[in-house]
Symmetry: C2
Subunit: 376 residues, 2 copies
């Protein structure tokens, strides 16, 4: 089977376990491409990493933007080595910069109790957990404007602005409503804190209420972030689509996966859903796909990092590129392998799950098994 | 036994279930006072409630400050009726106003897996969970400064300032270090998000690091709020003292109790630990004690609200007033009653736990049992 469907992918493994989970994830993507008849061209870049920074005193080469804009999507491992490079250099010099420069204003993170994964929550097994957080990804609490005054004195005062714009809030809220509408449960939960954060958060609530009028078929509820976090623990199975600001989305999309078992398997899609390639009237702004987990210096180099987050991020990338069939097959393969490994575990046999999932497998073993399953 | 130890308590039941949990809590305090030989004078005030607001178009009478400053402590139920009064009136006109006016800069919230309470976390029972959150309670994300520009247009922009002051940060961090030093584990966890919130949060980290030098005996760790929330679910039994900003402390002190079972039992002490009554050189600024839960309009009027949060808040108040023995006895009484009720439940007998704890008792029954146990 030959095909004209072909995609160029920027591959940025980054640091730490990013370097370890990338190869098996690329092999999984290759397997999907082969089976479903499309081509993937991987362009490997060593930059956007602290290793690169140590050699070049900068996270990115001069032409980074051109390099990435020559690709259909960015496949990103994990960046950061806080022991040697400050976060404001490593993160604001790569991941957070990309999100803003490419206006990846939607951060999507599915949260699902996968077969074979044991949730730390009692009495939840059997009950499906399957929701998705939609995080604003460019403004809000991550504005990076503000400063210090009276430094080093008793009057020292430090201010940072949270910035919500009409355009920024409306587009993420509308995206969340559309997503909720497309799902069977049609339920949207909005994270707020308008009772305490009395200027920006009431504005967020107002925009949610205004846009809700366009979606009478979607059930909307709003919760203050404190009690919403509590409800994630108490009733995770009742959520469908959850929308929040940059900070609240960040918190909820780590807490959700913690409630469903392991953060090692959660993926993250940083989307600019309106950008179009080859449209002469707009600049091409590619989307970025990454695992939720970070570079994890504590386990880097041991070969035991969980590759599922990275593979699942690849699955979201194929979905975004329009390869729906291949994306479905990849998700099914992940589920089948996790289920089978769990069964082996329950039979008292050794299994290929990585240690974070209480198995004794390696990154390569678990990744290789999923690759094989995709090819089947 | 007669005594010269006598305390005047401002009693503000507020709204909703605040009105229901207050009477049993006051009877518990009376029982403790009787047994340990001190006097409590309760001054009941109907204001700081939406009921009062509906009649007077204001949350507080003119002399509210004088009335409260004539007391040794404030015992506060819960305020709010979002269906009829906006939060910025009800909350910023009472609770949040008191915190700021009386400079109650420490918000202490113990989080403990109580005997008889079933945690929603699997495999945690048996392992003790016993930590305490120290929340900055006057500044930070709750600054209430900022505003809107270009209203109603596509350029609409809304800004709110997060304000950290040297004085504000240092005093809460130092308080947390002192508290950690006084506890057997001597461990302090600082909540941050300096990788994303790039101006105020690195400042928070800097102050924690600077003050840590004064406490070489305390083990300090810092975690970004996203992963810290995940760790609350994954390993709540490993925390000791957790310190955070106004917002982060708010989130963690709801999430913690969610992990230990029920938010209905968590108490909250809003402290000005340096204020001294009868010191001619300073204004008297009383501290405030409240349950973590809110006015809960959905279950108000049914008589089934859990009174333990309010009673436990009373326990913290006695501790603060210096009645350590009475405070210990109250905590023990709460534990004994919960344990006994759980045993009854496990024997298949009906029990007096309120419905949020899966029992079939009422506010009055559970509160009455604790009152009797205190008197024993
Ligand atoms: C009611 C609300 C403003 C308040 C807060 O956020 O401080 C509450 O959640 C709390 O934790 O006491
Ligand atoms: C690394 C950090 C800045 C980042 C964020 O807060 O956005 C991460 O936690 C995430 O969720 O992608």
């Amino acid at each position: 089977m030959t095909s004209s469907r072909s995609y160029t992918i920027a591959v940025l493994p980054g640091d730490g376990i990013g370097l370890e989970v990338m190869p098996p994830a690329l092999r999984c993507l290759e397997a999907a491409a082969k089976r479903f008849g499309f081509n993937l061209e991987f362009r490997h870049f060593p930059w956007a990493s602290c290793t690169y920074y140590h050699e070049h005193a900068t996270m990115l080469p001069k032409d980074w933007k051109k390099d990435l804009q020559a690709c259909d999507a960015i496949f990103f491992g994990a960046v950061g080595d806080p022991a040697t490079v400050p976060d404001h250099i490593s993160l604001w010099g790569s991941l957070l910069l990309f999100r803003r420069e490419f206006d990846q204003y939607i951060n999507l993170r599915p949260c699902r109790l996968m077969p074979g994964v044991t949730s730390p929550l009692a009495n939840r097994e059997g009950k499906p957990i399957d929701f998705i957080t939609v995080r604003e990804n460019t403004e809000g609490e991550y504005s990076s404007i503000g400063g210090r005054i009276f430094e080093g004195t008793d009057r020292e005062t430090v201010i940072q602005n949270t910035v919500f714009t009409r355009i920024g809030v409306d587009r993420v809220v509308r995206y969340a409503f559309e997503l909720a509408r497309s799902r069977p449960a049609k339920r949207l939960t909005s994270a707020t804190k308008s009772n305490g954060i009395s200027i920006t958060m009431p504005y967020w609530d107002e925009r949610v209420e205004a846009i809700a009028k366009e979606y009478p078929d979607v059930k909307v509820e709003k919760y203050h972030i404190d009690i919403l976090c509590a409800h994630f623990v108490q009733r995770p199975h009742t959520f469908d689509v959850v929308v929040g600001s940059n900070l609240f989305g960040d918190i909820l999309s780590d807490l959700g996966p913690a409630c469903t078992g392991t953060i090692g398997i959660a993926p993250s899609a940083n989307l600019n859903p309106t950008a179009k390639r080859d449209d002469p009237n707009q600049e091409w702004l590619p989307s970025l796909f990454e695992p939720v987990h970070g570079s994890a210096p504590d386990i880097a180099g041991k070969g035991i990092a969980n590759p599922v987050g990275m593979i699942w991020a690849g699955q979201m990338m194929l979905e975004h590129l329009g390869e729906k069939e291949a994306a479905s097959a990849m998700l099914l393969a992940i589920e089948n392998v996790l289920k089978e490994a769990k069964n082996a575990h329950d039979r008292g046999e050794s299994n290929i799950l990585t240690p974070d999932m209480h198995g004794n497998g390696t990154t390569e073993e678990l990744g290789g098994e999923i690759e094989m399953e995709i090819g089947r």
